[in-house]
Subunit: 428 residues, 2 copies
């Protein structure tokens, strides 16, 4: 079944408010098995509201319309709906009684515009709104239409408590969509799709689909399927999931929408009962911050030294002053010494490091902005560095360094030989 | 003039991604004097893209379309545009050369789908995209159309550097909206509006308006005005800006949308030629990361020690083991010792520290989740701590700690006596 969403409000069009309602509704309706084919974001303008309501009802089986139900003069959604359906307004006694009781509690006198809050088009079935003063409305006219307030928690309350039931009544057994997220790192979107995964279209049957969601950190694969039950939808993704794991196993650090690379590294450290520490120059605290965003990270993350200036590198991490003079802070030697230095100083099993030119200033001909060295030291084990060349943008450089550093650490802990983006290990 | 926005992407419809592009574009176009009459959010579906492009071009003077320009099979915007206009595709040599140079720099082989990134419909004027690999496109056919990548920073780059100029060429004199942002910290929205600023409506003439934008970090005031020139719009905000400074001076740390509290602190440190260092436990790198997000921060930020475990607190910062045993890591004593320890160890003029229970686990009856101590040490100057009680949410606790820590540092450097949120200084 097809659903469309209409978001009404000038504040959305001029960019004062981000339309989070539409994405919440998209997720909710998709979860119920609807295909959301379009979101219309429009202004508080009578004729436009009428025109788009009519169009959306023609184009879909159900329309969810939010916004423009407040008590002020620019809120005219109810008028538009009544005119579209050629009906007048009626007073909803239950809503009026509820508004009166709310105002009495707060000791505020009822104004004329508060009365109008309790009015609805004559053909509306009222969806009683315990979360606010504007009632929701349900219409059955050339398709189904829900009209809801734009205040996010009122809208969500009415969707969950009222509209979901109405939709089940109207459409009987509505299905479930299941989305499964597979997170990869250290490989570009095009290499992943063209060379590693290749053509997967043979698995796109029974409503199974897949999307690539790239970000500076890595590529997330979103697999979708729907079914009569959540379990059925879930089952339909099993085959594709296992094929992806076979083909891209080494690049996959985890599953789940919000699963992060630092959680993946943390999980592997816990398995080994190992501790890690960080020595950060160009990332300046980002790596430590990423580790400590994860609850329970104190089990494997002991701390770090942010050596933004050279004297901190020398005094706290034991970096060689003569190397700083001869090859400079952004070098293989210094990255290696920082990683070893922090592991020894903080007494951890692994130390990792970053030193580079994040930008926008500070570049030279030999070491342009975006030149970044990273180092790894494992007690009694590997000791190596990697050089990368990123962008001119400071924050993107920090983010990409984080991903290469953590993905390399993950591969090291997993015993995977290849490096992210085919970068080369450089030994001391 | 009327503008419409088309946002393409299944991830927007199923609610995986919030459509922040549309609100940014809404603000940008409104600023140029356009009336944004509608946003269409649609799927990566050939016929729907063609249908909506046609409709939007009929309904408005200019259409900005974003998304669906990636290298994978589900990105089909260029195909839809070419079919709508009845033209084929051509290769854009400048874009291809740029993509090749990017891949060469990073040592990644070019795949077939990377070539297709450089293809555009024959009637397109290419808007060269220095921020990524997908070129922007400009069309003049029954109205003006810009087709841009959906990656936010690429889209913004192209709007500012390419499309704005095209719009001025096409429409001549377009007006300006000027927004001015005043950033406050350490005061709640209701105290700021009710007690400090009071009723400002007498200044809301000539299209001047103001909005409170609260966040976990502080309250930003956004002042808007429009005019025939940017200067005229700017002038209209002068009076209101100066009144706000008179009333809320001590709470204002700076102006400008993206101006951060760490920049404000950095500015004051530069004026004194002072260096700062951080000792972080519960914030785990967030403070250092915030400092180093600012270009040029190496002039005043020397580094820090992330002492997530107690042994790092003792060995690297000289925190007293007996205090850790008797009063615990989350205490006034430890916060004070951490701040002094890091300033002495890293030889900086100021040291600041955090230690607390970020959550969600780790709370006790005496020290529930959200209990956080911060410390300040100034060489030859002040030495004090502050205790706060925040929420149960780990990331919000980190963010709020950051703001109180930096705002207190700012007030200390400015010689402002009051503490954020009327918190109390506690001396050793």
């Amino acid at each position: 079944m097809k659903a469309q969403i209409i978001s009404i409000g000038n504040e959305l069009l001029i960019g004062d408010t981000v339309n989070t309602n539409a994405s919440w509704l998209g997720r909710f309706l998709t979860g119920l098995g609807f295909t959301v084919s379009q979101v219309y974001t429009i202004s508080d303008e009578l004729n436009q509201i009428k025109r788009i309501l009519k169009r959306a009802l023609e184009e879909s089986d159900v329309v969810i319309c939010t916004g423009g139900l407040g008590p002020t003069h620019d809120d005219i959604t109810k008028k538009a709906v009544a005119e579209l359906f050629g009906v007048g307004q009626k007073l909803d006694e239950q809503t009026l009684a509820y508004i009166k009781s709310l105002f009495k509690e707060r000791n505020i006198p009822l104004s004329k515009s508060n009365y109008s809050q309790a009015e609805v088009p004559e053909n509306a079935e009222v969806l009683f709104n315990k979360a606010g003063t504007a009632p929701g409305m349900w219409f059955k006219e050339n398709g189904y239409l829900a009209v809801l307030p734009g205040v996010p928690y009122e809208m969500k309350y009415l969707m969950k408590k009222r509209v979901a039931g109405k939709l089940r009544e109207a459409f009987g057994e509505i299905g479930y969509l299941h989305s499964h997220y597979i997170k990869t790192a250290g490989v570009g979107e095009s290499t992943l799709s063209d060379e590693i995964l290749g053509d997967l279209s043979e698995y796109f049957t029974n409503g199974v689909s897949m999307a690539y969601l790239p970000s500076p950190g890595g590529v997330t694969l979103r697999l979708n399927a729907s079914g009569k039950t959540e379990e059925e939808a879930r089952q339909r993704l099993k085959k594709l999931t296992s094929v992806i794991h076979q083909k891209a196993g080494d690049y996959i650090y985890g599953e789940g929408k919000d699963y992060s690379i630092s959680e993946a590294v943390g999980q592997l450290l816990i398995e080994r009962n190992w501790k890690i520490s960080v020595a950060e120059s160009c990332t300046g605290g980002l790596i430590a911050n990423t580790f400590t965003d994860v609850a329970g990270s104190s089990d494997y993350f002991d701390g770090g030294i942010i050596s933004y200036s050279n004297h901190v590198k020398v005094n706290q991490l034991g970096v060689s002053e003569s190397d700083l003079e001869s090859v400079g802070a952004v070098s293989k030697e210094v990255a290696l010494q920082m990683a070893k230095g922090v592991a020894e100083k903080l007494e951890t099993d692994i130390g990792i490091s970053t030193t580079g030119i994040a930008g926008p200033g500070g570049g030279t001909k030999e070491k342009p902005v975006g030149t970044i060295w990273m180092g790894w030291y494992q007690k009694g084990g590997e000791h190596f560095a990697i050089k990368t060349m990123f962008t001119k943008d400071r924050l993107i450089n920090k983010e990409r360094t984080k991903m290469v550093l953590l993905e390399t650490t993950r591969r090291m802990l997993k015993g995977i030989d290849t490096m992210p983006y085919d970068l080369k290990k450089q030994l001391p």
